[in-house]
């Protein structure tokens, strides 16, 4: 029998044998819906939790050169920026107070940070252009405090040094503190006080921490202060592992129970329709053909059920709490179809190896 003919025959048989097809479809819908409402909620919670833990702020590693020994040079920033596990890196100096140069004494003071490295790693330019060394960008939220109607002009620090303002910005996470003032473009030689490293993912925090310290190469570790989210990384790993294990266990249980029920329905169908299967053998269906037919017939009935269950389960989950991740929903639907097919194999073999003569003979 051709494969396309066999599939079409499986579909026709599934339609003709409505009761068993409906039972398989309902079972698969239930498997899908129950999985999404139990394991799916766990997966959604896990995803949400890990997403929160994986927020850029949770991946920020800050190393401070406590004695201003010139450890955090622009060259070090450049090396760190090239590491695979580093998403973004900037050197940040201690903030200095600046005022609007035009207003002068008595003007409101706002903090300004000198930044080494790519400014785009810390802020998003909204108007103007990226500053050259010695120039500044003003935060949109700090503009009015400085008395700027436009992000243009100049600011002066407490030492009387003037910085032309060439544009405005919004700070990127996790550098929201820069929204309080200005950033000053650093030059290629002056070190900064600290280096802020956003690690690409939490699991890489520990190894990146080692690499950063190694690159800074302080003569004595007491010369630097390290603020690292390694504890958070460990927590994420533990939580992810626990939730994953729980979810996998629940998934196996649900699919396993569903598979047993599907197998029972298919077995009942096979036993009830012995003459039908015997007739097929007598008319030329091979044993493997019969196995394929029974399995395909089950999958044909299971797929619409699984799709309905997935949609229904996802909608109910969305109403009750939060929808399960789309990838998870798709995976559960495919898995349900596969499991129903696998569950049909033992009864299909039973159908194939039964003696057709016994059921075809009329006493």
């Amino acid at each position: 029998m051709r494969v396309s003919t066999a599939l079409a025959e499986a579909a026709r048989t599934a339609r003709a044998q409505r009761v068993s097809s409906l039972m398989v479809a309902v079972l698969c819908a239930a498997i899908c819906a129950v999985t999404l409402l139990t394991v799916g909620r766990t997966a959604a919670a896990e995803e949400q939790l890990l997403s929160r833990l994986d927020h850029a702020g949770s991946r920020l590693l800050v190393v401070t050169d406590d004695r201003s020994a010139g450890l955090v040079t622009p060259a070090v920033i450049q090396v760190l920026a090239g590491l695979d596990t580093v998403e973004r890196v900037v050197g940040v100096d201690a903030p200095v107070d600046v005022t609007n140069s035009v207003i002068g004494e008595g003007a409101e003071r706002v903090p300004a940070w000198r930044i080494n490295g790519e400014l785009a790693a810390a802020v998003t330019l909204t108007t103007g252009r990226w500053p050259q060394p010695g120039e500044a960008l003003v935060a949109e939220s700090a503009q009015s405090r400085l008395g700027f109607s436009q992000p243009a002009g100049a600011v002066t620090d407490v030492n009387g040094r003037e910085y032309p303002v060439v544009g405005s910005y919004i700070a990127r996470s996790p550098f929201e503190q820069f929204d309080a003032g200005l950033v000053l473009a650093g030059d290629e030689t002056t070190p900064t006080r600290s280096v802020h490293v956003v690690v690409s993912h939490v699991e890489a925090v520990r190894v990146t921490e080692t690499l950063v310290v190694h690159t800074l190469a302080p003569p004595d570790l007491s010369e630097i202060t390290l603020q690292s989210p390694t504890g958070l990384a460990d927590l994420q790993r533990v939580l992810g592992g626990d939730l994953g294990d729980y979810g996998r266990g629940l998934l196996l249980l649900t699919l396993g129970a569903g598979a047993v029920l599907v197998a029972v329905v298919v077995l009942a169908e096979v036993l009830l329709r012995r003459r039908d299967l015997g007739r097929r053998r007598a008319l030329g269906a091979s044993q493997w053909g019969l196995v394929g037919l029974v399995v395909a017939r089950t999958v044909v009935a299971a797929v619409p059920g699984a799709l309905l269950g997935a949609v229904g389960g996802a909608v109910i989950a969305a109403i009750w709490a939060q929808p399960p991740p789309l990838e998870f929903t798709c995976a559960v639907t495919v898995l349900t179809g596969l499991v129903s097919g696998i569950a049909a194999i033992p009864p299909a073999f039973l159908a194939a190896v039964r003696d057709p003569v016994g059921v075809l003979r009329t006493p």
Binding site: M1, R2, S4, T5, A8, E9, R12, T13, A16, Q17, R275, D276, G278, R279, R280, R281, A282, L283, G284, A285, S286, Q287, W288, G289, P356, V357, L360, R361, T362
Partner: protein, 217 residues
Amino acid sequence: MNSPAALAVTDLSFAYRRGGEELFGGLTHEFAGSAITALTGPSGRGKSTLLYLLGLLLRPSAGQVLVAGQPTQALGDGERSRIRATRIGFVFQDAVLDTTRPVLDAVVEPALYAGARRREAIPRARELLTHFGLVARADHRPGEISGGQAQRVALCRALINDPLIVLADEPTGNLDRDNARVVLDAMRDAAHAGRTVVIATHDPFVLDYADHVLDLS
């Protein structure tokens, strides 16, 4: 050189269980082509069993079933099923039609196992149904036709692949005389068309139609 018989058995024996009663005791027989051979004998002598051996649904414990001269004993299930689908047509005592499918599907079914596409098989199925006066019932379910009509549908099904051999197990057992005559006339037509027709029966009315009788007494 003569072409081999469509159907023959050599040294054939069969036992349902190892060490159980042996049937046929080394039977050797060549079934005549273009003729009806009736298998007859008292109950329990293996008429239906021999028919299912000839149909490659059972394997002999000794000897061979030869289809168009080809020994079949050593063939695997796939090859035996292919021979069954392409060269053998079966008619059972009660038609054994799928009650959930239309008559047309029942007739087309063996063609699918023989590798044909459904749309390729439908014209031949309609032609056969027309020949047997059943085309108006093509879309009916088996529960909506009479026993005689069902057996004629079974005959259409047996002939759809234009087989060399037609095997029938008590095909008139559930029919009245008029319907039995229609079915047997059709079998005779099939034989006259060059087929080897073998009928397992104990009905004297069927024996009247047989060209040869193989008595298993």
